[in-house]
Structure formats: structure tokens, C-alpha cells
């Protein structure tokens, strides 16, 4: 068995068959597989079907159609088998705040049938790894958000799962917690644990994941490695320039030959183009003519975030009328959707 997760034609419709309520198709016949030991990113805007897919794979809700198997166990007919194989770290840290960190881990271990000697050894190891050993006897209600998240991850690992579902593992956390969690993800990868990761942080997915799937409106838009996805959008190249003195104008930069779109990020201007080789000399000439010194000049490929935006049709919020002359092409997909 090479696949840790196998999903075929998976579908979920809410409110199906309920009188007077409009059915909502949350997941629309998606198919993909996650290899054993792989770190797989699952990206999509809010409402795209990510959480529904995770809920089906973790046996929380049954699908309306199609099949899903985790480590060979069918999520419908062998939910018990699936649950023995998986660890789950949901977006909201669902720890028992009335328990100490130690008691949370002991309860989890007992629930999963971890033998007594092993559960204490494992708890000690995890609490140390997550920097919670000193606080093991303190009620977790008093923990910071990052500490709760680390404890939640430790609880998800108590029974040494083969597949770990991580929903937004580092979202909104302090730097220390982010580093500890990222380090743990790397260690789990090295140990061969399959990781199914959803994240808002596209760059995190780009760095951590072997492959990513992009889901939008319940359908899969793409499944590939971050590098291959970026390569597929090579037309989204850009030239990034920063000036040492004075202010450039988006209108002037946008008027340069071969420039499709201009974006101003901090002290840098990003000029999107299909022909960076033509844009660079034009920028140099224009800066000389305008009396501006170039502080830095780089060519960039598309980031995974840009690929994601392109594929999902997310549009940035509209700027106020006096918010600057920035111009950009219309995006597919129409209305605005928040990334998530």
C-alpha cells in the first residue's frame, strides 16, 4: 500500500433532501491520493470545501458520494480502523482547559488505548519537545494560544498516528510556537508520518509540502508539487525594483513597454510581465531619466500565493478612490473572496 489517503469522486451535499432548505454542494466529486510519508498541503479560499473534506477523511461526517480510504480503511465502512491510524489537530485547539497538560495527554492516551508505561514515557517526551514540561501540572486554561496549540499537537501525537491532519497549525501564533511546530513537522516527515496540512500561509505550504492541492468551489483546481505549479504559471514573472531616493509613479512604471501590471509593496515596486528581459533595460532607462537611483532590481517567478490567487479567482479588496493609481488586470472568478 503506497497511498496513505485515497479519495475518489468524493462528494458532500449539505441539506440534501430537507424540505424548504436549499442543498449546498460543499465538495464536488474530487479525487486525489496522498502518498505514504508525504506532506500534502490542502489550500483553498474560505468555503472552498477544505474543512468538509477533512471532516470526511477524519470520519466526523459521512460523504454524500464517492469513496475515501485512509491507510486502506474506508471512512464509512471502517471508521474505527481510520480513527486508530490518524491524529488530528483542528484549527481551534480543542484541549480540556480544566485539565493540566499532563492530564490532557493521559486522557488522550487512555482513550486511544496506549499502555500505561508507554503513555507516561511518550507524554514526557512530547511535553519536552513542545517546551511544556515545566508547565505540565498547570491548568491549561491559563496557557497562551501558542501553548494550547502545542499541547493540542502533542495530544494528536500521543498514540503515534501514521497520518496526521493539521488544520492551520501555525495560524496566529507567536514566533516561538511557530518554530517549535515547524520543527516538529520536519521531525515527523523524517519519521515517515504522512501529514495532511491545510494552511492560510501559502509560503508555509510552499516550504513544507511535497505536493499541494488547490480546492475551489468544492472542486480541485490543481494537485501538484509547488515547483510544478509555479512552473505552470511562468507567464506570471515579474521584475521587482526598489529606488533609493524619491517616489516612483505607478502610472509611469505601468507605461513602460511589456509591463502588464504594477504593484507597490512597502518600498518595492513589482512589475508583472511576460518579458522580464525587455522590462529591465526600460526600468533602468526610465530611472535615469527620472533622476532616481535603483537600490535593488530582481526578476521573480510566480510565488505559490500568486498561483493560488490565479487559480481561485480571489480578488484583493477594492481600494478607496484616492488609494493610488495602481492598475491591474481583471481576475477570473468575479466577486471578492477572502483567502483561507
Amino acid at each position: 500500500m503506497d497511498q496513505a489517503i485515497e479519495v475518489a469522486e468524493l462528494a458532500k451535499t449539505y441539506n440534501e433532501g430537507q424540505r424548504g432548505v436549499t442543498p449546498v454542494r460543499a465538495v464536488d466529486r474530487i479525487s486525489f491520493a496522498v502518498h505514504r510519508g508525504e506532506t500534502f498541503g490542502f489550500l483553498g479560499p474560505n468555503g472552498a470545501g477544505k474543512t468538509t473534506t477533512i471532516n470526511i477523511l477524519t470520519t466526523l461526517i459521512p460523504p454524500s458520494g464517492g469513496t475515501a480510504r485512509v491507510m486502506g480503511h474506508d471512512v464509512v465502512t471502517d471508521a474505527y480502523g481510520v480513527r486508530e491510524e490518524i491524529g488530528i489537530v483542528p484549527e481551534i485547539s480543542n484541549i480540556y482547559e480544566e485539565y493540566s497538560a499532563w492530564d490532557n495527554l493521559m486522557f488522550t492516551a487512555r482513550l486511544y488505548g496506549v499502555p500505561k508505561g508507554e503513555r507516561e514515557r511518550q507524554a514526557q517526551e512530547l511535553l519536552r519537545a513542545f517546551g511544556l514540561w515545566e508547565k505540565r501540572s498547570v491548568l491549561s486554561a491559563g496557557f497562551s494560544k501558542g501553548m494550547k496549540r502545542r499541547l493540542c499537537l502533542a495530544m494528536g501525537l500521543m498514540h503515534r498516528p501514521h497520518v496526521l491532519f493539521l488544520d492551520e497549525p501555525t495560524s496566529g501564533l507567536d514566533v516561538q510556537s511557530v518554530l517549535v511546530i515547524r520543527d516538529m513537522i520536519q521531525r515527523l516527515r523524517a519519521e515517515g508520518v504522512t501529514i495532511f496540512l491545510t494552511t492560510h500561509n501559502i509560503e508555509e505550504a510552499s516550504q513544507s509540502c511535497d505536493r499541494v492541492a488547490i480546492i475551489n468551489y468544492g472542486k480541485l483546481a490543481a494537485v501538484d508539487s509547488p515547483n510544478n505549479l509555479r512552473a505552470a504559471f511562468s507567464g506570471m514573472q515579474s521584475v521587482e525594483v526598489a529606488f533609493r531616493n524619491g517616489d516612483a509613479s505607478a502610472v509611469d512604471l505601468g507605461a513602460l513597454p511589456s509591463v502588464r501590471e504594477v504593484r507597490h509593496n512597502g518600498d518595492k515596486w513589482r512589475l508583472y510581465t511576460d518579458a522580464p528581459g525587455a522590462v529591465i533595460p526600460a526600468v533602468v532607462d526610465w530611472s535615469k531619466a527620472s533622476g532616481l537611483d535603483i537600490a535593488s532590481l530582481n526578476t521573480l517567478g510566480p510565488s505559490l500565493e500568486e498561483v493560488f490567487i490565479k487559480m481561485t479567482g480571489i480578488t484583493p479588496p477594492e481600494r478607496p478612490a484616492d488609494g493610488g493609481p495602481e492598475r491591474g488586470p481583471g481576475r477570473p472568478g468575479g466577486g471578492q473572496r477572502r483567502m483561507g
Partner: protein
């Protein structure tokens, strides 16, 4: 599934149910809604019913015990489950290798233990005031079965589709009051009209009160065996209905 595997699975599920019950006992017994709906409410209700009556306090004790076990045991499910759904710890249980039946059985056991523990208070007070236990075995059986039936009634209440404890307790209380008033705690079954008795038979509290009365030297209307069988049937039916409704809620993603 052969008999060995079946037996192992049953033991596994029973052990998990107890682990969940133990956790609920440690975490939720001191929660304000549990204390308010489970202890304060029956206590003040009893006071309002007994103050000014020309009956010895000892004679009122069986009724107080029945009311106490009714309110306490049935208050765990509708507090704990919506609470856990709100903070999403219920999901933790649902995704662990344990069946929904075992989870709900664990919640029921927590209700049973809570109901029996709190009921000890009026029982001891009653004994101090002169009440006596004539049939200890029947009293023990009656209390355990009553606590089970009421705790599983609490599980049924908890299927109300809300994650707000107050929103679940409101309808739960609306149902518990009529069950109390038709039960024969205030008016003996023998004094009720035929239609009143027919209504009384619909309330599990009727059988709990009847069996406790008989175990404490009072007059019963039904035999203890009938009371015990009825309480056991309510326990099974409420738990089964609660299980079905929770499964339905999961299918709908509630």
C-alpha cells in the same frame, strides 16, 4: 465478528465509556450550569413544595429523593454535550477509536454517578430526620435504574441542535416540569383519575417515585418489579433515541 473479537470489542468500548465518564466527572460536576440546574433547582423546588405542609419531614423524603435524582441525573447530558460541542472537545471524542454509543454511554454514566452522589444528601438528611429504609436492595436497584433512565433522558435533551447550554436547558426544563407534575410525586397515583394515571405512566419519574416510596416503607401503586422494568425500558429507549438523533445530526453536519 467471532465471539472472542466481539467480547474484546465490548470490553474495549466499556472501558472507553468509563474513561469518558471519569473525565466528565472530574471536569464538569463543578460547572455552574450543572450546580444550578442539577442541585439548586430541585432543592428549592422541594422547599416550595414541603414548607407549610402538615406532614413529618421523614414522610416527604422519598419524594425529595425522587425529585433530586430526576433533576441531577438528567442535567449532565444537556450541559456537557453542548458545552463540548462549542469548545469542540466533542469532536475529539468522535474522531477517537470509540463508537458514538460508547461516548453517549460514558456521558450517561457520568449522569448516573452525579445523580446518585447528590441523592445521598437528601437520603442522609432524611435518615437523620426519621425516615427509614425498609428494602435496601430495592432502594439501591431503584435509584440506579432511575438515575440511568434520567441520565439517558439528558442525552436525549442534548440532541437539541444548539451549542449553547442555555438554549438546550430551556426546552429540557420545559419537558422536565410536566414529567414532574404528572408523576405522582405530589398526588399519589391511587388518588388520580384514570386519565391522570394514564398520563403518569408516561413519566419515568412515576416509576422512580413509586419504587423509592416502597423501599422506604411507603405505599406503592405498582410492584417494584414493574417499576424496575419500566425504568430499565426508559433507560434503553432514551439512550437508543439519543443515539439515533445524534447520528442524524452528524450526517447533517450539526
Amino acid at each position: 465478528m467471532n465471539s472472542t473479537t466481539w467480547w474484546r470489542r465490548l470490553r474495549h468500548e466499556a472501558a472507553r465509556a468509563w474513561i469518558i465518564a471519569e473525565k466528565d466527572i472530574r471536569i464538569y460536576y463543578a460547572k455552574p450550569p450543572v450546580l444550578m440546574w442539577g442541585i439548586a433547582l430541585p432543592f428549592f423546588m422541594f422547599l416550595s413544595w414541603s414548607v407549610g405542609r402538615n406532614r413529618p419531614a421523614g414522610a416527604l423524603i422519598p419524594g425529595l429523593i425522587a425529585i433530586t435524582v430526576f433533576f441531577t441525573a438528567s442535567s449532565i447530558g444537556p450541559v456537557v454535550i453542548p458545552w463540548e460541542k462549542r469548545v469542540r472537545t466533542f469532536e475529539r471524542l468522535l474522531t477517537a477509536p470509540v463508537s458514538l454509543s460508547a461516548i453517549l454511554l460514558g456521558k450517561t454514566l457520568a449522569g448516573v454517578v452525579f445523580g446518585l452522589a447528590v441523592t445521598l444528601i437528601p437520603l442522609l438528611v432524611g435518615l437523620a430526620l426519621g425516615a427509614r429504609i425498609t428494602e435496601p436492595f430495592i432502594l439501591a436497584i431503584g435509584l440506579v435504574l432511575a438515575a440511568g433512565a434520567f441520565a439517558s433522558l439528558g442525552i436525549l435533551f442534548s440532541t437539541f441542535p444548539s451549542q449553547n447550554v442555555g438554549s438546550v436547558m430551556m426546552p429540557a426544563t420545559l419537558i422536565r416540569w410536566p414529567l414532574l407534575f404528572v408523576s405522582g410525586v405530589f398526588v399519589p397515583l391511587s388518588a388520580l383519575a384514570l386519565w391522570g394515571r394514564a398520563l403518569a405512566y408516561l413519566s419515568p419519574l412515576t416509576y422512580a417515585n413509586d419504587i423509592i416510596q416502597q423501599a422506604m416503607g411507603g405505599q406503592g401503586y405498582l410492584t417494584p418489579a414493574v417499576d424496575a422494568a419500566a425504568l430499565l425500558a426508559f433507560w434503553v429507549v432514551f439512550l437508543w433515541a439519543g443515539l439515533r438523533l445524534h447520528e442524524l445530526g452528524r450526517r447533517r453536519g450539526l
